[in-house]
């Protein structure tokens, strides 16, 4: 087991990893930027080393400074947390060449799954569903009609040179496909100088369902069930829960097994998440792998009883996974809300400042993962999340009631937070009935 680990991150995830290490008797070296110097959570580390200025490019993202800190801190391993360098293949390679263990997948596995093309190849080999589509550009109207017949309407006509939502139109039948193709080609030529278009099945109002996996260095891979993260705004998750509501047990089993097949195929090790979208017929399609521990990992920890961070460290230290798949439960229902320092009344603009008052809820089944406290100054340099509130109850209605009760108790003064929006969502019938999809918040709830 490692004696000393460096945590190459900040804020709540750094604190999370610090706590896990302290429980395991592992010494810790925390790094900080000048903006985070003096933060309370750093006092829980055996050592804190300032690695650069507030701007992450010169500190948390600067590989040479992180590695130097690891060297003078005398650590055997680095935990990268999430974001920052956690999915940086080069960083993982540098760690290895400096004889420091990287608590995460190998650079090779990270690279394979980080590339969209190779990831899709691996998914195909592992017999994991991808979003169906034309395998290349549309050559003729006949070909397009045939492909649409095969994959089924509605279909999305996409400009190959497009991006960011540009050059996409939906076709719901043969007639609209024929006219759509002509118009799309003309628009694409004008906008991107490239008339090439291809087809993809249009998944309407998809749900975002992801599977937590963990694999040891001895070939064992298990899943720790799924999380539903459909409650999003501008592709940022607001609420996550496990298990996914209203998903038939057979679909849950299939999607989790598909994730395990894919991970095994890629020779991936340590913790990771396989993301899928699920359509209204409960068909699921592979999107991508997140080759790191994720923000919403506590949701899985509550329903399985497994400490994911500690398990990551054990896997990296060479220990075999201590349970077989059939022994991994999914008990009760857990919901997490992310609390951000943002002003919902002003287009969610960041709301930095000093937290002058903080009263955090508690009670049966309540967990608060956060580095902030009364007096803490939320700066403008990093993401706006100040903490994660997680509840765990025997059923989903009880979890929702608990979360509503908690958000009513919650007091934060000095900064604005997204708590009012979270309360609205939890009171919305679509959420309560488990009918959330990724378009709901922006297209229905936030439309005045």
């Amino acid at each position: 087991m490692f004696q000393r680990i460096l945590i190459a991150n900040r804020g709540e995830i750094a604190l999370r990893i610090l706590r896990a290490c302290r429980e395991m008797g592992i010494e810790t070296v925390a790094v900080c930027s000048e903006a985070d110097r003096g933060a309370d959570y750093l006092k829980l580390a055996s050592e804190a080393i300032c690695v650069g200025p507030a701007q992450a490019a010169g500190s948390y993202l600067l590989i040479k400074n992180i590695i130097s800190a690891a060297e003078i801190g005398n650590v055997q391993a680095i935990h990268p947390g999430y974001g920052f360098l956690s999915e940086n293949e080069h960083f993982a390679e540098v760690c290895h060449s400096c004889n420091i263990d990287f608590i995460g997948p190998s650079p090779e596995a990270m690279g394979k799954l980080g590339d969209k093309v190779t990831a899709k190849e691996i998914a195909k080999q592992a017999k994991v569903n991808l979003v169906p589509g034309s395998e290349g550009l549309i050559e003729s109207e006949e070909a397009a009609l045939a492909i649409a017949a095969k994959i089924g309407y509605p279909v999305l006509i996409k400009a190959t040179a497009g991006g960011g939502g540009k050059g996409m139109r939906v076709a719901r039948n043969d007639i609209s496909l024929k006219t759509g193709l002509k118009q799309a080609a003309v628009e694409a030529e004008k906008a991107f100088n490239n008339a090439g278009v291809y087809l993809e099945k249009y998944i309407e109002n998809p749900r975002h369902v992801e599977v937590q996996i963990i694999a040891d260095l001895h070939g064992e891979v298990v899943h720790l069930w799924e999380r539903d993260c459909s409650t999003q705004r501008r592709h940022q998750k607001l609420i996550e829960e496990s298990p996914a509501p209203n998903l038939p047990q057979s679909v849950r089993e299939d999607i989790c097994k598909a994730a395990v097949r894919l991970i095994k195929s890629a020779n991936y090790t340590n913790a990771g998440t396989v993301e899928f979208i699920v359509d209204k017929d409960n068909q699921f399609y592979f999107i991508e792998v997140n080759a790191r521990i994720q923000v919403e990992h506590p949701v899985t920890e509550m329903v399985t009883g497994i400490d994911l961070i500690q398990q990551q460290i054990r896997v990296a230290a060479g220990e075999p996974l201590p349970w077989k798949q059939r022994a991994i439960p999914c008990n009760g229902h857990a919901i997490e809300v992310r609390i951000n320092a943002e002003d919902p009344e002003n287009d969610f603009r960041g709301s930095p400042g000093r937290i002058t008052k903080l009263r955090v809820p508690g009670g049966n089944g309540v967990r608060w993962d956060s580095h902030v406290h009364e007096g803490y100054v939320v700066g403008p340099y990093y993401d706006s999340m100040i903490g994660k509130l997680i509840v765990h109850k025997p059923s989903r209605p009880e979890a929702i009631a608990c979360m509503k009760r908690c958000l009513d108790e919650f007091v934060v003064e000095g900064i604005k937070t997204t708590i009012p929006l979270l309360k609205r969502i939890l009171n919305n019938s679509a959420f309560v009935e488990g009918r959330m999809d990724t378009t709901f918040i922006e297209q229905k709830l936030l439309v005045k």
């Binding site: 050592e47 804190a48 300032c50 690695v51 650069g52 200025p53 400074n65 590695i67 130097s68 003078i72």
Partner: protein
């Protein structure tokens, strides 16, 4: 110094010591002297280590090897952000600190056995190399970036230094 106390006698109050250290830290105190009858405690907190003097009647060797309870609660780890006090002093008296631009190991001289790049009293210009900081086997030459005279050298060869740590004090 006094005779050693027989083991099991006159208990050393770890709880009280811990409370004192925490109080010193939260109130920013650097020295505390307590006296009650024959019992005297003196605690002094420096920028990067907790120094404490043994109460008069206890043998120094019971304290000398930096007792774990104090070290564990010491607010200032081995490579800590420099305490506010030295920097404030530097500014207050019109001195400037040369701060480390990187993370690594400080070396005062180009190689062992050679004289140091600068000493107290050396005159520097912005381009003067004042030290080396070794990071990942690369020795970085650190320029002064200020003009003036070195009045103090705050670290020694072999010390681990962090970003922003004051290395030299300069009178401009």
């Amino acid at each position: 110094m006094s005779d050693s106390v027989p083991p099991g006698d006159a208990p050393f109050d770890l709880d009280k010591l811990k409370q004192l250290v925490e109080m010193m830290e939260s109130h920013g105190l650097t020295e505390v002297n307590l006296r009650r009858g024959d019992e005297q405690w003196r605690l002094r907190r420096g920028p990067r280590e907790v120094i404490h003097a043994a109460p008069a009647q206890y043998a120094p060797q019971q304290f000398a090897p930096a007792p774990a309870p104090v070290a564990a609660h010491a607010p200032a780890p081995a490579v800590a952000p420099a305490a506010a006090a030295p920097a404030a002093t530097a500014e207050a008296s019109g001195l400037i600190d040369i701060k480390s631009p990187t993370v690594g190991t400080f070396y005062a001289a180009p190689s062992p056995g050679e004289p140091p790049f600068v000493s107290v009293g050396s005159v520097v210009t912005p381009e003067t190399i004042v030290c080396l900081i070794e990071a990942m086997k690369v020795f970085n030459q650190i320029p002064a970036e200020v003009s003036g005279t070195i009045t103090a050298i705050l670290v020694k060869s072999g010390d681990a230094v962090e970003f922003g740590q004051p290395l030299f004090r300069v009178k401009p």
